[in-house]
């Protein structure tokens, strides 16, 4: 009995390789600027997507508990290396950057195809993605990626448990969570609540200098760009919020407020 338990706790959680997809995005603390073609201006302060930072943290915690290697995969222009480097400083082992001029303005499908090709070459046991990127916010890349990789997807995970080759997640819902499981290899999209990202230690920052970031282009993956599946046709400003009405209480305030609410069809 004891032996079996020991055995299962040993195999209990063996992960060989975790890939985390990471993206460099404009700093959430700065204002959004669009280029003439409606794509985001990326020439300003950029950071590792805060959602991906949580993904990296979760992967590192899984690695600490179960062993294995954490590989960061990113698609982006060359400066996106900094986002990978940030994850390496936190403790990830190495990175892959797919960078190609043809990828500028890539839509979700092209992004997923590119990432899938790069991830396939890594043959991981687990892929961790943020639920959606901070900037594009389509939320489409993780499911597309799972499909292209032929992996089951466990989405919106706020907790991950590893039991041998079975991965169980707590899937966040509006009023609670579901427990969903699948066998490895598996793709998981995680919520920001899954893990508080650690500070990159100063030793980690210095050590990251000598960790590998492999840079590849579309040609290396054997992918043709093709026609985009989506383009941005137009864009309009969200309606600015109108100033509220201030009602002085001259004794009829309650009636006035009710009228306003009736007009707004709230009552």
């Amino acid at each position: 009995m004891v032996i079996i338990e020991l055995f299962s706790s040993l195999t209990g959680g063996c992960l060989v390789k975790i890939v985390v997809t990471v993206k460099q995005v404009p700093d959430p603390n700065s204002s959004t600027v669009l280029e003439a073609d409606n794509t985001l201006a990326r020439d300003k302060e950029v950071v590792l997507d805060p959602g991906d930072e949580c993904g990296v943290e979760e992967a590192l915690q899984l690695k600490e508990a179960h062993g294995g290697e954490v590989v960061l995969v990113s698609m982006g222009p060359e400066p996106a290396k900094d986002a990978i480097r940030k994850g390496l400083s936190m403790g990830a082992d190495r990175g892959v950057l797919i960078s190609d001029a043809q990828l500028a303005g890539a839509d979700a499908l092209l992004t997923a195809r590119v990432l899938a090709a790069a991830i396939k070459a890594e043959a991981p046991d687990m892929v961790i993605c943020g639920t959606e990127s901070y900037d594009g916010s389509t939320g489409m890349v993780p499911p597309m990626l799972a499909e292209l990789l032929g992996m089951p997807q466990l989405t919106i995970a706020k907790k991950v448990e590893v039991d041998g080759s079975t991965i169980k997640v707590h899937r966040q819902t509006a009023d609670g969570y579901q427990i969903v499981e699948a066998a490895t290899p598996v793709l998981i999209s995680v919520t920001a609540g899954i893990a508080e990202p650690r500070y990159a230690s100063l030793k980690g920052i210095m050590a990251a200098r000598s960790k590998e970031i492999k840079q590849i282009g579309l040609g290396d993956l054997g992918i043709e760009k093709g026609e985009p599946a989506e383009t941005i046709e137009g864009l309009s400003q969200a309606e600015t919020r109108k100033a509220g009405v201030i009602i002085q209480d001259d004794g009829t305030a309650v009636d006035q407020i009710i009228q306003v609410l009736v007009q707004a069809k709230v009552l």
């Binding site: 900094d82 480097r85 940030k86 400083s89 500070y199 990159a200 230690s201 100063l202 030793k203 980690g204 920052i205 210095m206 990251a208 200098r209």
Partner: protein
């Protein structure tokens, strides 16, 4: 000429900035009010690797450079200069002399704990009757039966009296003047050595979250291998130690000046008078503009001095000495003006402890005194000019 930080330096600055904002700043007011040493913060700083930042990996350091240390001290001090001086003194005055002058055994014995922030080491140079004139040291150490026996007193010593203080390096006269200067050597005294007394902590105007005590030594005996560096090398060693310390403490001043600007700018945009935010009054704008400009000049001076110091590789060149004195002097006086104007911009609220600028104003004065007064810096600059 390229004024860009390397990507590692930027990454180190950014992580220190986040850490300072999220961990150090929220605790600053309480530590200040209760005159408490931030053990929990120091522990976390240790885990982050701050105490080992500029040292080689061999003894558990992070292998960063001296400029990175200055960036870290600047960011931490922007949140709390009391914590900033704890770090500065632990690294530049405590660990660095052991790292730079210690024997292999001394380094192996002490550095791993110090560089991890588990323990703090302090540096005792100043005495009741020897401050600016550090060569006037009265503390004596005599070699008796293979032991250094120390007698004397030290004053205003940072980091010596905490629960994690492991010891102090004291400068002491080890042979009488033979015509010229007396022979001064540095001796390491571990906490708990009989005859080593850590007296009650000072009641300070500022830096309440830092630890400062007077020390006294009464027939305090340590083994002769506790001599740090060569016998008679004390004077040269502390000049070297103080050179790095000066640049690092200038970085602390820059952090505080920046904190004054941060607080003043946000207050000036919120506080209204005569129908507009006070940031719309030219008199207030000019104060903010001056603060921003002087802080940036001071920062540039610190970085330049740090890079020059890094290049000297242990040698104290005249250029490094000049730049260190200039940046220490300029940054401390800049922070003083900034704190003064920050209180002014806050009006009556600036006099209240509800806003951090009152603390900045109390904390800032020491910048013009510690690690060489402004007068001493001017003397050094004038001497290097050939006066």
């Amino acid at each position: 000429m390229d004024f860009q930080l390397t990507s590692e330096q930027q990454a180190i600055r950014d992580v220190c900035r986040d850490f300072a904002r999220e961990v150090v700043a929220p605790a600053a007011e309480e530590l200040d009010r209760n005159h408490k040493f931030g053990y929990d913060i120091v522990r976390q700083m240790g885990e982050l690797g701050l105490f080992g930042l500029p040292f080689s990996e061999e003894y558990g350091g992070a292998g960063g450079d001296f400029l990175s240390l200055c960036l870290a001290i600047e960011e931490i001090s922007r949140a709390d200069t009391g914590v900033g001086i704890t770090l500065e003194a632990a690294v530049c005055l405590g660990a660095a002399p052991i790292h730079d002058f210690g024997s292999k055994e001394q380094k192996e014995r002490w550095l791993p704990d110090l560089l991890a922030g588990r323990k703090l080491w302090s540096f005792g140079l100043t005495e009741p009757e020897a401050g600016s004139d550090a060569g006037a040291t009265k503390t004596r150490a005599e070699l008796r039966d293979g032991k250094w026996v120390v007698n004397g007193a030290k004053q205003f010593i940072t980091n010596c009296g905490t629960d994690i203080s492991a010891g102090v390096t004291v400068t002491a006269v080890t042979a009488k003047a033979n015509g010229g200067r007396p022979e001064i050597s540095a001796i390491m005294v571990p906490t708990g050595t009989p005859g080593y007394h850590i007296l009650e902590s000072y009641r300070k105007l500022g830096w309440h979250s830092s630890d400062t005590h007077p020390l006294s030594f009464e027939d305090c005996a340590v083994p002769d291998e506790y001599l740090l560096g060569e016998r008679g090398g004390g004077f040269r060693q502390f000049l070297h130690t103080l050179l790095g310390g000066r640049i690092a403490i200038a970085a602390l001043s820059v952090g505080l000046a920046q904190a004054c600007l941060d607080a003043s700018l946000s207050y000036a945009k919120e506080r209204r008078s005569f129908g507009v935010p006070i940031s719309k009054h030219q008199a207030v704008q000019f104060k903010l503009a001056d603060m921003a400009m002087e802080t940036e000049i001071a920062r540039t001076m610190v970085y330049r001095a740090a890079v020059t110091y890094m290049k000297t590789d242990g040698e104290t060149t005249d250029e490094a000495r000049m730049l260190a004195a200039m940046c220490k002097l300029y940054a401390s006086e800049t922070s003083k003006r900034a704190a003064d104007q920050a209180v002014q911009i806050h009006g009556g609220y600036g006099f209240m402890e509800d806003y951090p600028v009152a603390r900045y104003w109390r904390d800032v004065k020491i910048n013009e005194i510690g690690e060489g007064t402004s007068e001493v810096q001017r003397m050094l600059i004038a001497r290097l000019l050939g006066c």
